[in-house]
């Protein structure tokens, strides 16, 4: 059998590989021989870090799976038809699509990226990405369960869904004005997704599917790991009580809880159970935690940085912070 060989010249990576292997082995030795496991801070860090990754990784895989299906099996013509719709229709339709996509924020980023690359308007893609972690049915149900005992389950669900939708639409409209190529950060070796790939056989299509699946999973996975490490480090090092004294003033309280949401990087399906524990903060401030966290947190900031071009995170914060703050203050006035 003759073998065709495709040779791609890569830079010499033996040094990098050796260094990374040495770090992993060093970490192992530090733990098992160096007594790291007897240090309480190390145990706390490892448990929080690993639990964040264990919880997030299957969702990242699901996001990568949907992204690969979109790339390989959904024809570009479908997206072209959607893209022809006027933006005022496309934007809310995409945001409300979050109701039908029950994954948390880690899964929605690769899907949104693929939708935009395939031709969906960037504003609509961003609206979907920002809305789905807040609007999906599991998140709203957990919010209701968390707050129902305090007699405000329905109010918090409506507040969260309403403010989350407003934030997704506003941020999508404000940030998604650029073309896909100007918004998305290109990845090495990735082809333009705005054209259908031609596959002569179904095995070839399957190979392309697994390749895209793995590419997205490993690309997003590394940022989930890094973000999880940063969140775990901050949870281990910074006492949450430092925000307790800021609860009195609604504006300061809301800002404090938004900062805490960024630091904690909780999954949106669990954050309501933590938010409701901030009993010293008004409900409006707790709502800001529930809306800001799924849109901007430490782990997402890294994912966004790898997915979108420069300054995306700053622009998103510039929109998300005032919208969330204003919305949470209004909520406080209405519910009081």
């Amino acid at each position: 059998m003759s073998i065709d060989t495709i040779t791609v010249r890569r830079p010499d990576t033996r040094g990098l590989t050796a260094a990374l292997v040495a770090i992993l082995v060093g970490l192992l030795l530090l733990g098992r021989v160096g007594g790291l496991e007897d240090v309480p801070a190390a145990g706390t860090f490892v448990l929080i870090f690993t639990s964040l990754v264990v919880e997030a990784l299957p969702f990242v895989l699901m996001g990568a799976l949907v992204s690969a299906i979109i790339e390989v099996y959904v024809p570009v013509s479908w997206f072209t038809r959607v893209a022809r719709l006027p933006l005022p229709f496309q934007l809310p339709a995409a945001a409300l699509g979050g109701f039908a996509f029950p994954v948390c924020e880690c899964g929605s980023v690769p899907v949104a990226r693929r939708l935009i690359a395939k031709g969906m308007h960037p504003a609509a893609g961003l609206a979907f990405m920002l809305a789905s972690p807040i609007l999906n049915p599991i998140v709203l149900a957990s919010t209701w369960v968390a707050y129902s005992g305090r007699g405000v389950g329905a109010e918090m669900v409506l507040g969260r869904a309403g403010l989350g939708l407003i934030l997704a639409l506003t941020a999508g409209w404000a940030i998604g004005t650029e073309k896909a190529g100007e918004l998305l950060r290109p990845r090495p070796g990735e082809r333009d997704g705005s054209h259908d790939h031609t596959f002569e056989t179904s095995p070839a299509r399957f190979n392309a599917f697994t390749s895209h699946l793995a590419s997205d999973f490993f690309f997003m996975g590394r940022f989930v790991v890094l973000g999880g490490a940063i969140a775990a480090l901050m949870q281990t090092a910074i006492p949450q009580s430092i925000v307790g004294g800021l609860a009195e003033t609604p504006v300061v309280g809301a800002l404090a809880l938004m900062g805490l949401a960024f630091v904690l990087s909780l999954c949106s399906e669990a954050d309501a159970f933590v938010a409701v524990s901030f009993v010293q903060f008004p409900l409006g401030s707790q709502l800001s935690f529930l809306v800001f966290g799924p849109v901007v947190d430490a782990k997402l900031a890294l994912l966004y940085g790898a997915t979108f071009r420069r300054r995306f995170v700053l622009r998103l914060v510039a929109v998300a912070l005032p919208v969330t703050l204003a919305g949470s203050l209004w909520f406080e006035v209405i519910i009081r």
């Binding site: 065709d4 309480p40 190390a42 639990s51 964040l52 990784l57 490993f218």
Partner: protein
């Protein structure tokens, strides 16, 4: 054979195996709360399926005669290594747990433990736990429904989180909803005892409740050191 595809398949297989280990050994109860246990078998199966898909692709590449002899890019190497870090961390620190340090970091209020959620529906048919005592502090009605009051006998199992000598310490247990990152500590002050127990020691305390201001405290009749329970968090 593509080196990067093979390496990715190996890492996917490792993660699938790690999820299988968490599932079979029941170690998942240390990392996750009951609401998200399903993630572990789900992750095991889906990551296993992704591994198989990769192996099928590799086999087809070989059979088709188109073989990539590519070295791995820096990006591939960093991504693959990053995904190995959590597994290595668990092997390096196998007894990682949330203890007294985590309690000190996670307390949000003015001193005491945080309120969880909604108070659970009082169930007079079961023995009161840390959460019940917490809500009984705030609600007379809740306390009455569960029969919690002065002189109520109680047995609690938790770890020492704030040792203040042998005669007074705090006993704590975490409640986890989704994962350890959202753990909320519930604590009860314990009075009595003759032996000082260092932080993070697991104890079973039998005693009676006594009001001290607006808080219930547990006056110990018997204190026994025990192993960490199979399920360390409150359900």
């Amino acid at each position: 054979m593509s080196n990067s595809t093979l390496a990715r398949a190996i890492v996917l297989a490792l993660w699938s195996g790690f999820f299988a280990y968490l599932w079979v050994s029941n170690e998942m109860v240390r990392f996750l709360g009951p609401r998200t246990y399903w993630v572990v078998p789900f992750g095991c199966i889906t990551l296993g399926a992704a591994t198989l898909a990769h192996l099928v692709t590799l086999r087809r590449e070989r059979k088709s005669g188109v073989q990539k002899e590519d070295g791995m890019s820096r990006s591939d190497i960093i991504g693959i290594t990053a995904l190995l870090v959590p597994i290595v961390a668990v092997i390096a620190v196998p007894q990682a747990e949330l203890g007294a340090l985590a309690v000190s970091r996670k307390v949000t209020g003015a001193g005491a433990t945080s309120a969880l959620v909604a108070p659970p529906v009082p169930d007079a048919g079961r023995a009161p736990n840390f959460i019940d005592v917490h809500y009984a502090n705030d609600s007379e009605e809740y306390a009455t429904t569960l029969g919690i009051g002065e002189g109520t006998p109680l047995e609690l199992t938790g770890f020492v989180s704030d040792s203040n000598g042998p005669s007074e310490f705090t006993l704590t247990r975490f409640y986890v909803s989704c994962c350890a990152a959202d753990a909320v500590p519930y604590s009860v002050r314990v009075l009595g005892g003759e032996t000082e127990h260092p932080d993070n020691t697991w104890l079973r305390v039998n005693g009676v409740l006594e009001r001290d201001g607006d808080q219930f405290k547990l006056v110990a009749d018997a204190i026994e050191e025990v192993d960490e329970p199979d399920s360390p968090y409150l359900n």
